[in-house]
């Protein structure tokens, strides 16, 4: 990075601009003409580029023997360029002879999110054609089915109803940042559920270095700092589930967006529309897009921006002391914090805005003499709903409370969340009741 020394600062900036014309020959074989420039200085020919990228991918997969021979691995293909490249890399690895061959058992998954966006009508069919061409085991599941249905691997007759529920959730969120955050969390939920149903013990997703560094910075801005390692790590164990040890692996995490773009170009891989709520939105409407612009703009003059962010993020490791997981995102919850922390402050201000002046009066009364303890707005249901919201918020991480606060109605949340919440509540009650007997 640039030095802080004021007088030298300007010079440091200038040195970073390329002054010499680029070497046109490949830096590896020194024979072929270059095709790709990485980090504004490393020139590769097609052949050397391909073997370098493949090597990086294989090194990441091979690291510390993450996948066993014959193990079922859910390969998540969204249709994005990264994901079709991942599929191609895995397929190529499976074709190789002898000791270089990949030996796990892939199950390719496409989650059809078309109910949420305007996709070309034939997109699902095209994806199916692609999967058929590779000849691997595959599944195509509708997003809403994966969220709401118990038997989402079969055709569900209630799919229209589920689609409505899913659309409702997002139309009930007014803030674009939260909408996108919710989408990410629901995707993760769907993938985890499907992995279990398909008896996969490993999940592979296609996020590249670029995407992960943007996620890293967005996470910090969203208040998901403690969940960073879960969201960007190479191999993340889903400790939330005791029965299976479900590990998410990100084999593309050491590849840059540019490396993947050229991998797809050289292999003539077709990619598909993979939208989210920020697709073609302007950059100052959401935290995530603002972060993306910030990173991309920096990257223009400082080609090592992404890898610097990324390597810094890797050093952050999760606190092993955490034992509490968020009901919505399954991320780590900060529970052991001092009352004066930012989280408590926000909680209090949210509480006040949620309950209105009543809350303030109530808490003032409480301070005064604790005698007016029963003052409810009886008759209307708003109180119950407000109660449910507050109760659920108890079981959520800091960032997810924002989503639920913004959500107009809780009716369309996946049932597991509402049920688990009831369980938790029951457990708490029971604890209350028997606490006198415990010594």
């Amino acid at each position: 990075m640039c030095s802080v020394n004021e007088e030298e600062g300007a010079e440091v900036f200038e040195v970073l601009k390329p002054i010499e014309p680029l070497e046109l020959k490949c830096r590896k074989c020194l024979i072929e003409d270059g095709n790709v420039v990485l980090q504004k200085k490393f020139v590769y020919c097609k052949t050397c580029f391909m073997s370098m990228v493949t090597h990086k991918f294989r090194a990441t997969v091979g690291k510390s023997k993450l996948v066993n021979r014959g193990e079922r691995v859910l390969v998540c293909v969204s249709g994005s360029q990264s994901s079709v490249s991942l599929l191609h890399m895995i397929w190529t690895g499976l074709q190789q002879s002898t000791y270089k061959r990949l030996t796990f058992d892939p199950v390719v998954l496409y989650i059809d999110e078309s109910v949420l966006y305007d996709y070309p009508q034939d997109q699902v069919n095209k994806i199916q054609e692609l999967f058929e061409k590779y000849g691997l085991t595959y599944r195509i599941v509708k997003f809403a089915a994966a969220i709401y249905s118990d038997n989402c691997l079969d055709e569900d007759t209630n799919i229209d109803q589920y689609n409505d529920k899913l659309q409702n959730i997002f139309s009930n969120l007014s803030d674009l940042t939260l909408k996108e955050d919710m989408l990410m969390k629901l995707r993760k939920r769907a993938i985890t559920k499907l992995a279990e149903l398909l008896k996969c013990t490993r999940i592979m997703t296609a996020e590249n270095e670029h995407k992960l560094s943007i996620r890293l910075l967005s996470n910090v801005a969203l208040g998901r700092g403690s969940q960073i390692s879960l969201d960007i790590g190479l191999a993340v164990n889903n400790k939330n589930n005791d029965k299976t040890s479900l590990v998410t692996i990100r084999p593309m995490r050491n590849l840059s967006a540019k490396e993947i773009a050229y991998y797809a170009l050289f292999n003539m891989l077709e990619d598909f529309m993979h939208s989210n709520f920020l697709t073609a939105t302007s950059e100052d409407e959401s935290i995530q897009k603002t972060t993306e612009r910030f990173v991309n703009d920096l990257q223009v003059d400082f080609p090592s921006t992404v890898s610097t962010i990324f390597r810094t993020g890797e050093k952050i490791s999760e606190k092993t002391s955490a034992i509490s997981y968020c009901l919505l995102c399954q991320g780590i919850m900060d529970v052991n914090m001092s009352p004066s922390s930012a989280m408590e402050a926000t909680k209090y201000s949210k509480y006040v805005s949620l309950m209105g002046v009543k809350a303030l009066k109530l808490s003032l009364n409480y301070l005064k003499n604790e005698n007016t303890n029963e003052k409810k707005c009886d008759g209307c249901k708003c109180k119950d709903k407000q109660d449910l919201k507050e109760e659920i918020i108890e079981s959520l991480c800091y960032a997810c409370t924002h989503i639920i606060q913004d959500l107009q109605s809780l009716d369309d949340l996946p049932e597991e969340i509402l049920n688990k919440h009831k369980e938790k509540l029951q457990f708490k009650k029971m604890e209350e009741q028997i606490k006198d007997f415990l010594l």
């Binding site: 097609k46 170009l265 073609a280 993306e292």
Partner: protein, 103 residues
């Protein structure tokens, strides 16, 4: 007749959204006084084939492509070809790849 240029442009990885969901475009660049460069082509694309005109800023920034968009001519990085100053040749295949997330 010889003075016009026949080229192909491709917009992938979400960029096609700005071009009526069509990835591949065969273009005929009209005869011009100055030689056709990539720099000129960008604005010609903006004026002539961009469908979602209001969202041109998702394609261009200043006089070049928006950061995060990769440009290749016949599978070769435009950084090796002089970026905006590259002189377009007949039958060139020019690819624009978005690395922005979700397009």
């Amino acid at each position: 007749m010889d003075k016009v240029l026949n080229i192909t442009t491709e917009f992938t990885s979400g960029l096609q959204l700005l071009f009526g969901n069509v990835k591949k475009h065969k273009l005929v660049l009209p005869e011009a006084e100055k030689p056709w460069t990539l720099g000129l082509l960008l604005f010609w694309i903006k004026d002539n084939i961009l469908v979602d005109k209001d969202k041109w800023y998702l394609f261009l920034k200043g006089n070049t492509v928006r950061p995060g968009i990769i440009v290749a001519v016949n599978d070769q990085d435009w950084e090796l070809l002089g970026d905006l100053n590259y002189q377009i040749k007949n039958n060139d295949n020019i690819t624009f790849i978005s690395t922005l997330h979700g397009g």
